[in-house]
């Protein structure tokens, strides 16, 4: 998967106005150039990540997983809670192929892989 693609996609997109309803995010995307400031200057600017949930956690995979919107500096733990993923079921977190933890903060553009305990060989 091409991370560069996602980073450039993020750079083309600034979104604002997050509405949480019943734990599910709805996003109004008003495309403005990067660096632009929203009218009120108060709204959170969103970026996107490529998130994949595997094995028994694949039931939480969102339809827009390859460009899933997040607020910059959100932690993996906050993100998973918001998605309704029980943290007790999460064992492995990979961020761009490197092990992360629920405390790891995301900047946007990352590829994030989430697994329950798995083994084989």
């Amino acid at each position: 998967m091409d991370w560069q693609f996602h980073i450039s996609a993020v750079q083309c997109l600034v979104t604002h106005d997050i509405i949480h309803s019943a734990g599910k995010k709805q996003i109004h995307q008003n495309a403005t150039p990067i660096g632009g400031i929203s009218e009120e200057g108060m709204h959170t600017r969103l970026t996107t990540i490529d998130i994949r949930l595997f094995a028994t956690l694949s039931r939480f995979q969102p339809p827009d997983a390859t460009h899933y919107p997040v607020e910059p500096s959100i932690t993996v733990g906050e993100l998973l809670s918001r998605m309704g993923v029980p943290l007790t079921e999460v064992k492995l977190i990979f961020i761009n192929g490197v092990k992360g933890s629920p405390e790891t903060a995301l900047n946007g553009g990352e590829r994030v892989g989430i697994f329950p305990p798995v083994g084989g060989g």
Binding site: A55, P116, P117, V118, G119, G120, G121
Partner: protein, 580 residues
Amino acid sequence: MDKILRINMSGADGPQWAIEPLGAYAGLGGRAMTSTVVAAEVPPTCHPLSAENKLVIAPGLLSGSAAAMSGRISVGCKSPLTGGIKEANAGGQPSQMLARLGYAALILEGAPQEDTPYKVVINKDGAFISADNSLRMLGNYDLVEKMKAEFGGKVGCISIGQAGEMKLAAASIAFSDMEQRPTRHAGRGGVGAVMGAKGVKVIVVDDAGAPMRPPKDPVAFKAANKAFVAGLRKHPVTGQGLPAYGTNVLTNVVNEAGGYPTRNFQTGQFEGASRISGEALAELENNRGGEGSATHGCHRGCVIRCSGTFYDKNGRFLTKQPEYETVWAHGGNCGIDDLDAIAQLDRMDDDFGLDTIEMGATIAVAMESGIAQFGDAQGAIRLLEEVGKGTPLGRILGSGAAVTGKVFGVERVPVVKGQSMPAYDPRAVKGIGVTYATTPMGADHTAGYAVATNLLSIGGQVDPLSPKGQVELSRNLQIATAAIDATGMCLFIAFPILDQPDTFQSLLDLINGFAGLSMTADDVTALGRTILKQEREFNSAAGFTKSHDRLPEYLSKEALAPHGVVFDVSDQALDEVYNF
């Protein structure tokens, strides 16, 4: 298990057999038995296909008892692929059956004077050996069908296909499963070629009338078995992940970690991984349905049930659920993302009697040379057909990745001691790189599965991308694995016993309750060390030095994407692995 069946194929009047007491081999099982016999009886400098080499087949210590997971069987010899000592183990039914018949080992030695395929039948009355030319060049599937017709639906078979008869260095030995199919293989190191050199095509094991092996302390044994099974069920890997998705659940993990060797180890991520993952395979199998589709055991007494059954598009049985290593070898490593083609290749490997890891690695090397294209599934199938037919090209490929690389002038050949690396790139999973380099077996992931700690956070955590801590990790796992390989236990019990001290204790209680012993964890470690030292001494006497405990040079020069890493565990550090 108080006797050994020794078959000498060299007799002037044909093969001779004798039943012997255990003598110096008392108390040994599985890999402890095979490696001790090979070290004691096989001249380290002999040719692996000569009469001096021996093929030792040994059930694990607990095989044939009511202990869960105890159906592994070990095969040992001097390897035609590596030139060193070899232990390859498999699941299937024959381990329990041989153990119930009382055999702690079956030793094939000598070589027949004529080129005739022999059939050995072992039952409660002894052994019966006969020449049978009708078996010549049969594939494992036809062979086992024939044995079923002759001996009934309950016998177990230990057999070789065409590859073993041709004495090819990638040849495996098949062990039949619960459905009497030849799907479980002692795959690695060319053990099938040694069986072929002994002239034995098939060993039929009939345990009718043989009782289950009783424990010395039935009360303690029963309680320990119950606790052990509960521990396996409680651990999420053996209780949930493996039954649901099989070993192939690893495809996505190793790919996410950037350590999935793609197109002959060119990169560490495969864009087609999700299409051949355990999740995709389970979905396909569940959609197609059929008996034992996505969750099935490879032998009676298995409570993990990581296997499954693969039916083709028309619902016809094709093969068992291909394992992770096979899906990788014939899939991502060859740039192939088609599960039906991979399953077809798995079936062909099982039928011809070939190691799926070695063949996938070999086809990838052949693809790098340009005789087929990466991603060409039909091309891979055609190459494998050549092996089954025994054409000159097929014989080259069936001799493994190292030979194929030499013949076709390929520099990048991922082997150690002539044996191909499995499904983890040692640059991005450095602990497994240490195991590949230093195990007496040649590149072998099962010999010290550092992937568990490097990638899966089982048994602690050691950063896969740093050289730090890998030597100690690999050493400890190699020691523990050698001991587990002696018990007849499936290696997947390692996941719960690494994480759950009480499950490790119940394993000890199980062994002690069965054998009337009082072994401690230290005794288990000592057993593992003894096995490894013995194997290493054999290799040393066969001409191996520390310069053989190295990965191919290109892996320390060419950086692997996406992490841009090389293998950088120093030679000095590698030489420390066996300082114990």
